[in-house]
Amino acid sequence: MSSLSNENAAGVTGRLPSLESERSFSCYRSLTFTQISLTAAIWTVLVGGMVPSAGNTLLAIIGYTCGAVLGMTPVLLGSALPSFRYGVDVIELSKAVLGVRGSALALAGFLVMSLGGAAVAFAMICRGIGMMPAHAGRIGIAASEQSVVFVGCITLVLMYVLLRRGLDTVQRINNIVGPIFVLFITASLLLLLWKCGLRTLVLTNVPAGQALTHDPRRAFIYALEFGATVSLSWYPYLGGMYRTVKHRRHTVGPCMIGGVLVGGGLTVVVSAMAAVQFGTADPAIWFIQLTGPIIGSVVVSIVLLVSISAIGMTVYLAAVGAQQINVLARMPWSWLLALMLVPLPLAVVNTSWVLAHVMTIATFGGLIFFGLSGVMVVDFWILRRQFIALEHLFVADNSGCYWFWGGVNWVAIAVIAASSAIYLRIYDPITLRSADAFQFFGAVLPVVVGSGALYYVLAKLIVIPSGRGGYHACRIRSAGEGIARVGL
């Protein structure tokens, strides 16, 4: 039925609702491997290196894993399942909560978080591979700076070619890359067990001076917070993937087993134990110390290279989300991709600036999704009872159900702003300083629950009685009264 040209097919279908017949994730294994390759990337290894700083390695591992599962719950409920049902990504769905214009907030946060995170990861990969000959003593530092730029150019071209072909190609690559990554991580775990023994691995802690806390309870809560935050950072992405999932039976297992336990959990556990044993969170160093200089360098290069497909997936989803902007929606897919890739080479040129500033910006850009996830879960499951008038997501004037006040649901925006402020008051994600209230349940999980509860009360008191947001009218209008005038 599609009237689109092949040129646009790969990207434009990203903004258009996906039909059941064209959904590409129809196999449990494929979706599991994609989840593994997305979560088991270089950034997870880095998070893993940070986890033992909670103060107690065993508690940190248990806490992180529990937090990752708990954090994935609102992601699946608020982003993945609604996207699976309606075939659109979470930014599109957020219009039902934030309003057709208010969803620009979610889009801005998504783009800042995606492109910022991708730029940081890309810079680290290029620097990691490019500096390897210098670490091995083969070339000088000045020459290796040139090799960093060279690696960056090659990687960028590879990524562009990969992404230009669309999600199917990325998915095929992920089917190869996912198992490779897990193989290396499992081999590292076996080597660690062989060299150190399980008891030493789980009972050795970071030096007292490097620990965030000496209170075991607080250490556990810190790790729980790390796990929940990492899972919640997938909120804007998972919808983009789930809109192409074909079967309901694949909606939970691949994500929890592949994404949270194998891809995320196993990688974090191995990295955490290695970081403690070798006294560094830098995977380039502990991989080499674990396996020796030659094998270690090869392994690090492969690990960095396989992370390219994960970055590619992030950029792909960012490009799909960016099509919410009218001008970008009409741009050819290849041009849009090129535009999305622009920040990446800039990151290679000045890596230290990127690490110092972009990471902070990306972290704060992602804050809105903590509050938004709670609001969207309550809105979709309780207030709207799983019903969204799909056609009205694409009505950009006051005849649509999701117009609220001038296209913006100010109540939801206020709840998200308040939840972000409360989160920052309890916990600073940059300095990792925490208030007393943090010791009970951390910061992010209470913020998700609290924002959902607050929105429920305010929606009942303000939004629904005002007749805005289509809470009553949408079902009737969608049932056949009136025809919606839609457009991208």
């Binding site: 039925m1 599609s2 009237s3 689109l4 434009v12 258009l16 609702p17 039909l19 059941e20 065993l58 508690l59 248990i62 806490g63 894993t65 529990c66 937090g67 599962v69 708990l70 994935m72 719950t73 699946l76 409920l77 399942l81 699976f84 049902r85 309606y86 075939g87 209170d215 075991p216 309870r217 250490a219 556990f220 729980l224 074909k246 079967h247 309901r248 039976r249 909606t251 939970v252 297992g253 929890m256 929606a329 009409r330 799983q386 799909l390 056609e391 694409f394 009505v395 950009a396 969608s478 056949g480 025809i483 919606a484 005038r485 839609v486 457009g487 991208l488």
Partner: protein
């Protein structure tokens, strides 16, 4: 019974908007498709994972976190 279209292209809409309308009308009328079936089985599965994680966290806090 023929399905009634529930949306149309807004004035001035182009080829992309026509594609959107075609897809929306097809999706809206596919009430029997798998994505439109009840999502509660998936919710039950999520709940089982969440309860398990919460239980492990609680037990760990009670047994392992005694300062």
């Amino acid at each position: 019974m023929e399905n009634k279209p529930r949306c149309e292209v807004r004035p001035g809409g182009g080829a992309l908007d026509r594609e959107l309308v075609a897809r929306l009308n097809e999706l809206i009328n596919q009430s029997e498709s798998e994505p439109m079936q009840s999502l509660w089985p998936a919710v039950r599965e999520i709940a089982s994972w969440t309860v398990a994680a919460a239980l492990i966290a609680t037990v760990s806090l009670c047994c392992l976190c005694k300062g």
